[in-house]
């Protein structure tokens, strides 16, 4: 634990135990989403599915990056991670992104994907609101993750016919916002 780091956050008025629990729940959501997206991505096939496979893969890798970026902050603040994967799954801040009953239904796949991203956008917005002007490092991290989750949401919503996302897909490197936390 980074003692003074925790002290500074406590002094800002944040309930650090509550914040850490939220970070753990969101880390759990990232890890479980990485798992579920692996299955979704593999099943995105055929004329309709193939076009979505690449962005599902980018979102999958970036969600894993989010997990890896969150873990050090949890430890800095004196938190710890669940011992078992079962617990990780059960405490997740977002519901499981299960493969739809009909995996050839690409629209149903997109609904699952966009639902998972929207849950993440809400979660990190909430953490940003909690930490803004108080816990600068957690805010910076959460805001960086939020930027990527918003892009994921817009990619998938574009395919659902909700309007253009307004930006391109990644070209090569992943996690343009979060990568500074992964060095």
């Amino acid at each position: 634990m980074a003692k003074v780091t925790r002290e500074m956050v406590e002094k800002s008025g944040i309930d650090v135990d509550q914040l850490v629990e939220l970070l753990v729940k969101n880390a759990a959501a990232e890890l479980t989403t990485f798992y579920y997206y692996t299955i979704l991505r593999i099943n995105l096939i055929g004329l309709k599915g193939e076009g979505i496979k690449e962005i599902a893969e980018t979102a999958r890798i970036e969600d894993r990056n989010h997990f890896e970026a969150l873990v050090p902050r949890i430890y800095e603040l004196g938190g710890k991670l669940p011992q078992s994967m079962n617990e990780f799954h059960d405490i997740s801040a977002c519901p499981p992104a299960n493969l739809p009953d009909d995996p050839t239904d690409v629209e149903a796949m997109l609904e699952v994907l966009v639902g998972a991203e929207r849950c993440a956008v809400r979660g990190y917005t909430h953490i940003c609101n909690m930490t803004a002007g108080k816990d600068h490092r957690t805010y910076d991290l959460s805001q960086s993750i939020l930027n990527e989750e918003i892009e994921h949401e817009s990619w998938f919503s574009e395919f659902l016919g909700e309007g253009p996302s307004g930006h391109f897909l990644r070209r090569g490197e992943t996690s343009p916002f979060v990568s500074k936390f992964l060095r």
Partner: protein
Amino acid sequence: MKDFSKKELAMNNGKNGAPAFIAYKGKVFDVSKSFHWQKGNHQVLHDAGEDLTERLSEAPHGVELLERFPVVGTLI
């Protein structure tokens, strides 16, 4: 539809097998089946069995997510 006093609402806190009910603007919603309300707690900060009318304005979502769940009564 059942009328719930605050005390009755508090008993439906999602713990020890109790259903998870929350109140919003006088309506009592059953959120027991929501993944987000497991063990009667929502995102660390909110507990079932409470009137969350004031708190919803601070949440990163609106009432539309709550309205997905059945209304089981009225808070009196």
